[in-house]
């Protein structure tokens, strides 16, 4: 039932999404060849980001984390469950949310997460990443695929994402890493996403914010 509802929303929303967002995926490292479960780590610049990610991984059913406030009524809870959202308390991240993500990753599903923790508006620079995503991927034993979502300059501009190469967390920090090692991998992931951002600006130099506008922001 859940898959049917998800696919129904996905298929009926496809044409309006393509018209409105005109998504484009840049693949400097080629196609994503990861089979089975993996975690998508993306910067967060708009509330439409989960849809943009879905466009980048069209052949997969993508789960995403959503603040528990969105599940406030039965109707809302039904809808967001249908579109594969996992409720999470941003103020007091709970073990249930963690286990829900790890269970899906171990079951071969794809989960998208925004390690910045909130929508980053008004700045071209990404905020520091929290290391929760690294812990989830490491516990589930799945790779992380970094992607960069270009912030839209105007509402009518097409939405561009840059797909990175998978990062094997367990290979980097072992089965039982320390908190410091988790933070180091988190920093590494941040650097990889900055590289993807630079790749985007090399393709769209006009999108690079001028120094003046950066200072204003």
């Amino acid at each position: 039932m859940n898959n049917f509802a998800y696919d129904f929303v996905k298929v009926t929303g496809a044409i309006p999404t393509v018209i409105a967002l005109r998504p484009r995926v840049l693949k400097p490292y080629g196609r994503c060849k990861v089979k089975g479960g993996f975690l998508i780590s993306a910067n967060h610049c708009s509330f439409l980001d989960p849809i943009v990610i879905l466009c980048s991984f069209w052949s997969r059913r993508v789960y995403s984390l959503a603040t528990k406030d969105l599940f406030s009524t039965k109707l809302k809870a039904f809808f967001f469950n249908c579109v594969n959202c996992i409720p999470v308390d941003k103020e007091n991240f709970s073990l249930n949310s963690f286990h829900a993500v790890v269970k899906r990753l171990k079951g071969g599903k794809v989960v998208a997460i925004f390690p910045e923790g909130q929508i980053n508006v008004g700045s071209a620079d990404m905020s520091a990443f929290k290391s929760g995503a690294i812990l989830m991927a490491n516990t589930a034993g799945v790779p992380i695929v970094p992607i960069y979502i270009a912030p839209p300059r105007k509402w009518y501009h097409r939405r561009v994402t840059v797909l990175g190469s998978p990062v094997d967390v367990r290979q980097m920090c072992g089965l039982r890493p320390s908190v410091t090692e988790l933070d180091a991998v988190s920093q590494y992931l941040h650097e990889r996403e900055n590289e993807l951002k630079e790749f985007y600006y090399s393709k769209y130099p006009e999108a690079r914010p001028s120094e003046k506008s950066t200072e204003d922001a």
Partner: protein, 84 residues
Amino acid sequence: MALSRNEIKEKLSDVMKMVLSDAQPDLSAIDESSRLVEDLGLNSVGVLYIVIAIEEFFGIEFEDVGFDDFKVIGDVVDYIEEHI
């Protein structure tokens, strides 16, 4: 498997060593009143990691707990003692 409070604290010390590794120089100074955030420098992910490691080490399953549920080491020991 019933463990005494001291045995729990010893096992918990192993968990802390794994999680904190080189981040904390003096684990022997940690006692039940040590605060997870202020004294051990843990963030929300660190606390979560400790909880997950405890689940593995002690073979128990935590009910839904969050970052705010454990303030000091004593809270963690109490929880394990109640649920083991």
